[in-house]
Symmetry: D2
Subunit: 362 residues, 4 copies
């Protein structure tokens, strides 16, 4: 009698398609960082999880989030070995990539194939990105797994090194072996809400690439990225915005980790990034020996400046994506006025703040 009410999947599928354009209409707010001479600046998250390991979202959600939050490139790096949902899910370590890819393509998010090789600390957890097939990386021996990833052309980095404590997470023989055999490309100096100064030092000492990643497991509640309210990310300075372009930049250490109102990177990148972010206007008002000057920060990082020279305010906060007004006690001379500062939240070494000059045009 009720056969007319039998299930009609194709119809349901189509009706689901019908609402697609609306979902697509969600808004993206770009993360703003200027390019630097020779390189385009892009923002990437190389460490995220989905229901296919211990994450809490379907892989497409990571693409929706990347769109909303202004992220350019992202890797899903589900654990190969730690599978708390395996009672309910088939085991195919390429599945999260496959599921996410069509959404990534529609939303113009660069999706990088990756995985997390997960062992007790030490050696700890390692991400392999730019790999081709996750399944062969599931091996009993840790070194075999890393080698399999590198054999596929993968870039391998050590995640949140000291999260189990300074002793357990120290640079051990196994890390030295990885490093000597050129299997280790980088380390997370920033993971979620935590900065790892040891990792920072190791990267500087050994020439390893610095990464900052979210390691996100839950859904992101962000409607957009805002100054001070964005996930930990890696800035990548690429020659071209392609998968190969990003991989080349990772191998050449052209990255900076960004989060916790800090940026961590190399002087040769952060210096030009600061200079490209900041516009100092000529003085618009003069009274006695005082000059009034506007300084605009076109980036999404708030720069905290402390005076190192003999002129200018003792401290200046250059708020992200804003303009501030500065009064300078320094008559007007013949030449541009050069004010020396250090950026207290731009680290070009474990204890070293980036030195910058604010040039006030005559």
């Amino acid at each position: 009698m009720f056969t007319k009410f039998k299930m009609a999947w194709s119809t349901l599928m189509l009706s689901s398609m019908a609402v697609l354009p609306q979902a697509l209409a969600e808004v993206r707010h770009e993360i703003q960082f200027p390019d630097i001479p020779g390189y385009q600046t892009i923002v990437a998250d190389f460490h995220t999880h989905t229901v296919f390991s211990d994450g809490k979202v379907w892989p497409t959600v990571r693409m929706d989030e990347a769109w909303r939050e202004g992220i350019d490139a992202i890797a899903i790096t589900d654990h190969i070995e730690y599978l708390p949902h395996k009672k309910y899910m088939i085991e195919d370590h390429n599945a999260s990539y496959q599921v996410a890819l069509p959404t990534a393509q529609q939303k113009n998010i660069m999706l990088i194939k990756g995985t997390e090789i997960t062992r007790e600390t030490p050696p700890g957890h390692f991400n392999a990105v730019f790999i081709k097939d996750v399944n062969p990386i599931k091996t009993p021996e840790f070194m075999d797994a890393v080698k399999a990833a590198v054999d596929q052309g993968g870039f391998v980095f050590w995640n949140h090194p000291t999260w189990k404590g300074r002793e357990k997470g120290d640079w051990k023989d196994i890390h030295e072996t990885l490093y000597q055999e050129k299997l280790l490309g980088g380390i997370e100096v920033l993971n979620g809400g935590t900065y790892y100064p040891d990792a920072h030092k190791w990267c500087m000492d050994k020439g390893l690439t610095m990464l900052g990643n979210s390691d996100i497991h839950s859904p992101s509640l962000r409607h957009k990225s805002e100054p001070g309210e964005h996930r930990a990310l890696t800035l990548v300075f690429v020659k071209e915005f392609t998968q190969d372009g990003i991989k080349e930049a990772l191998h050449e250490q052209r990255t900076a980790a960004w989060g916790q109102n800090k940026i961590i990177g190399h002087k040769e990148h952060l210096g030009p990034l600061f200079d490209a972010s900041i516009v100092v206007s000529p003085p618009h008002h003069k009274a006695g020996k005082s000059l009034w000057v506007e300084i605009k920060n076109n980036s999404h990082l708030t720069y905290n400046l402390k005076r190192t020279g003999d002129k200018g305010p003792l401290a200046i906060t250059l708020d992200a994506d804003s303009k501030v007004l500065v009064r300078i006690e320094a008559g007007i001379g013949k030449n541009d006025l050069r004010l020396k500062y250090k950026v207290e939240n731009a680290f070009v070494g474990p204890e070293e703040a980036l030195a910058v000059t604010l040039t006030i045009p005559r």
Copy 2:
């Protein structure tokens, strides 16, 4: 050589447990509605999805959201038949309930077992809640499915009736049959962002229970519920806050649908709810014939009042969880001053606004 680095799951599991208290520390903001005489007022969502059908989150996420958003009771109602993720997941229609239950217990969320019986329109989609085992409800014939749900003690309601258009979604023979055989308990008058006036009318005419539900598929981006920024929900007026207490209230039509800055329910519930929400203070200032009065709204619904009597401002907006100031042109007599209004966003019938009285104490 590297056997010491072999996978150690138990350790990983434990380390995952170690971060549990932190996750538990997330904050809940209660949704505020006063109780009404004889009944406790609770808020429930009887329609949500997870990765086990076409939702985008792991079932525990729905519990995390309910905690944050101040929701008291929730049903996960994954489609039995529409399973777009089935390539990747085992098929067990009780799984989403089982997965969510421990989190629900820890977070003190009442988790109601449910499912969505999904057919082309007509008859359309129906939710069964308070059921015991979802698997037997997967039947080829629609009526068999509904009967199986009711046989288990389930309460069955029709979802978003006219979402495929007024004609397809009309009250047809199949609905009449369900109704005559006492298989249909209620209808969604509100689903997500859409109000269904036809459903409202059918509920009033036939004595069916009115529901308002989110039908949420994606992660919720809400940090908390706020006036005007909350999911569609059902207020349930219960004798006791237990599963049986909610079921009894559903069978007795003691509900109201809340969303889109509207509340839809019965006069005998919305009248007392308004009276319990509002506190009118005695006049604190008098000048000439003017009285100044404070009116506080202790609920999370903004009441939009329009004058129906001969005194008082023509319109008053009683903002949610706020106090407003009203000037009344009406000297002071011997008796309390009674101002007649209708609440334009409280519907006690398809075209009928709730009539209320503001009593200004002498």
Copy 3:
């Protein structure tokens, strides 16, 4: 005995100066509108009040607000005649300008000297801006006041014409006289939260300049201007950003009124403004006959598009300062794809929406 504790004003003054740099550090968020060919786009408010008439703030506060809200040029236009605070204040109609000027200079806000000539409706209220001395404009006869303002080089416009009702606020003989004698330069088509369609029509018909102003009396509670949360403002398309440059633009009707999620102006300005605001990327994904395209809106106005041609989504909302994703059902041809739309909230006539073309590059 306590003479050492006598008042020491100079010290107090200095200590007050000492905190100035901190106050200066407040952050400015620019309002974003692109320049159009031949003209720089600036934002101005030609109608504000202070304690020197019936406003509630000291004149410097209007400069602080302009800085924070990203406003480029502002006039304080205190009533000459309506002085409810006169019991407490000296009467000098140039005082609010004098008091505000030093702060304006420090904060790089262009302060335009102005006043409001205030009569019952009709004729109503009129602002004179770019005047030199307010005091001589205080005359018993209305026409004398307007003439005095124009004699000083002032630009006079009619404020909120129909705020006392359509009849009282109609175009009367007095307005025709002002117009014929070339004393009237423009009309507010937007004042605070109200749009005046009659004023819009009169401006179009008679070649009068359209203005949008805040008429702010209370303190502004805005920390910054945001899409949908900014004061009513006038966009001015200037040849040079000087007082003369703005005055020239007002005389040449190169303005647009912006507020209430609307923009009202001339086709020859709003067309180029839209084109300069929007960047349509080449399709980044193709599947079947579908193209996926990103559209970025670099302005602070959300454009609501409705399709007038035969291709493209029926409606597109181009959110302010955001990027949206659009799926277009239209295979790929040899040529750029041109989609015809009208901007429903850009008015180039009382009932006329701006026509635009979205060009999808091949």
Copy 4:
């Protein structure tokens, strides 16, 4: 010819009145603090400025702000001596009170008459509140001014004592004299964004009343008070909410200063305030030796708890106006479980955190 357009002030006045009800409709969000046994808890600001001294707003604005921000009682305390606007304003030190009073009455804000007696440091700045006439307090000698205030029944307190540095702002002979002669009632331990630990110590040692005030000069940009985003305020524990009731509480030191996410007061008030703010529910879930408990904080202060006993989480943050979930490792015994904590941001002495007990009902 144009005599009909002559100024008509009475009409303007009336039209201004006509918009009053709308302005009144602004919304108030109450600051939430529970009453404590024997006393009603109210919130007051005893230190604010207007255009009548060096403030930036008309006096009525302070009333509008108090209404919006949920403040119960407020004093306008314009400087008597420091009058930077005097070129433009008549000199009547009672004017700001007179101007504000009608708005205070309409908005049900208790307006306390006050002034600031302003001398170089030392002695510094002092507020006198609950005075009758400000003009006689303008005297050349500082002691005469204080005596005049006290003679009127005023309560005098020392403002921001060490704002000019620890040395200048120390407790000097003049302060000892004031104290010995019972002219000094209290000290600001909190002024705007600054906490004064020295003042805190002096209050504890000498039995002076602790105050927390905004000292606001600019307009407040707050739409409402929120946890962590409210002005510095004084909680007053009154027997009755009248001017006399507040004065009695000030004289009896029944106050607490609140701001900067701190509360500073006496153990006998802060202990009961904490207990009245917190509701600990019976465990809703038990698993092994773990109990899950909900703790609700009904106040607008976030309490930061640190464990001092042997059970319970090491730290608990009880967010303002929220509920948190706590897991306790402590089986279930026969008796209520008593957990010992200190509230790290509730100071009952300069270095002394409030000790509290969380009682988990069996």
